[in-house]
Symmetry: C2
Subunit: 352 residues, 2 copies
Amino acid sequence: MFDNKESRTSLSELGEFGLIDHLTKFFDIKQTSTKIGIGDDAAVLNFENDEVVITTDMLVEGVHFDLSFMPLKHLGYKAIMVNLSDVYAMNAEATQVTVSIAASNRFPVEALEELYAGILLASKTYNIDVVGGDTTSSTSGLVISITAIGRAKKEAITTRSGAKPNDLLVVTGDLGAAYMGLQVLEREKQVFKVNPNSQPDLEPYTYIVERQLKPEARKDIPGLLKALEVQPTSMIDISDGLSSEIIHLCKNSKVGANLFEEKIPLDPAVISVCEEFNIDSTTVSLSGGEDYELLFTIDQKDFEKIKANPNLTVIGHMTEEHEGMHLITRANQKIPIQSRGWNSFTDAKDEE
Amino acid sequence: MFDNKESRTSLSELGEFGLIDHLTKFFDIKQTSTKIGIGDDAAVLNFENDEVVITTDMLVEGVHFDLSFMPLKHLGYKAIMVNLSDVYAMNAEATQVTVSIAASNRFPVEALEELYAGILLASKTYNIDVVGGDTTSSTSGLVISITAIGRAKKEAITTRSGAKPNDLLVVTGDLGAAYMGLQVLEREKQVFKVNPNSQPDLEPYTYIVERQLKPEARKDIPGLLKALEVQPTSMIDISDGLSSEIIHLCKNSKVGANLFEEKIPLDPAVISVCEEFNIDSTTVSLSGGEDYELLFTIDQKDFEKIKANPNLTVIGHMTEEHEGMHLITRANQKIPIQSRGWNSFTDAKDEE
């Protein structure tokens, strides 16, 4: 896929150290907690007495992304978002990342430059420092492993396990768009296979395609909740779909939940594309995944503080554990919520 | 390679969450700095006012390891060592790791259990907590990405850039064994290809093979230096070979160095195997790599404190930058030290 590029420098020309220097030369240090960044055996950080949160995620070509429609710059950006989202889900501020990449010789240096351009853009936009990493060859494909680090006051840290019965269940933004964006991209890929001269018109799908290709993590939410003086009782990010994340919150907090179908926030574009694809929009929001919104619970006394905020939607409430987890449909039916979390060992994308 | 095993559970049977739970169930929390371990969106740590060091390394099948002679348990152990070594090279204590693994469906659950058994053994032996990670599928081969975290007082942190002219250059342990162990293993692999019934007699090579397959990181050195009241002026770990690491220290510290060939510590087993393979033992220690010893510089006034220690060998001294970096041979010749750092993009092991 990179054969048409005029400039094509093989990875081995630069060598491992030259490549790391080359790719990371535009990264600078912005966080006061970063004492030493890239270039020694390890980075050195200092968080004074704050809690340090740390999370890691690995993205594998052919499993988590498809380079036939995912531009490398977007991929670099998204790889950072996936990890920052986990930091924000602890109600913490993201401060640093490390980035390790294994790439086969199929990728010229220019391709990795594109990937790092996305990582650089994400690090500037989200005010995080890239403090380390590793760049190595692989025998096939591209693997990206990122570790994200953040900080928070001890009292702000929010886990999955603090929800209480009667707490309100709140979600940020809207759901299902990333999944429907993927459906559109996969359809266009099939069309392109049949007719390589076809020019896809993605204009009507701008929002949902962008949610798939360039998701944004909810950096704003920990600060917003602090400003609203709301300490969530539990929190998780929505990477695998709403139903899977509700189950995690309930199991970790030992509570049940009622989720109201009519409250689930959907963008009009999602509703119309679901109609076009003849897919139920509730199913998409429950099982679609990759929205990188935050799902959290608050004490009922905090409802007044959040109710006017356009970023936040109350979609249900927690119950006693023995009551179980249910979706209350628009027709007022009570349906058990079942896990359909994404499983990379069975749900991998087609290899190409 | 796992087809002969009686029990063979496919990764997809357990699913992603089931697999992580299954593999990490034996990990417990030992460090007081670990507040929350595996199981939430992120781990939560607290290092009070200490500096936090963080380092990451990725190991790729067919590039960094060869499963035809590397047992998976050893591989898990070694993957941890590679990362801890970078923490110790900052003169810090290692406290936590995260472990991300991508494995193709060629690997049954039992294979990953072996890998994690090695990780568990390393975490117990080195008193570190496994606080997070990711387990995902890959389209081919095995990729292991580890991030290690450590702590140190600010005044103890030792970088690559503090060496001064006239400082003494000191190395721990002995060099070249891991590389010669690899030569023996690769020879036996070729013999096995020709005659699959041959039983290799590795007994005479126990030490060097163990240095290759089960390296140990120098956990003891930061504590030893503290006990000796020696604050090194610069430090690095020896992963790519002595010459490459000396160059790093010199370039980062803006100094030169004289290295004395006769001082380089070699185990008798290395000397005899070098004779057997007709390889120069100095070349092996300069370029061999994977020893995971520590190389550091100290002020001359500290010489008395370290000179009697069997773990530490003074192998040279730093000079003014313009004097350059030289090996002083046994014949008193002065040869420039050149980088022959390992480059994964050109030096990858054969794919099989």
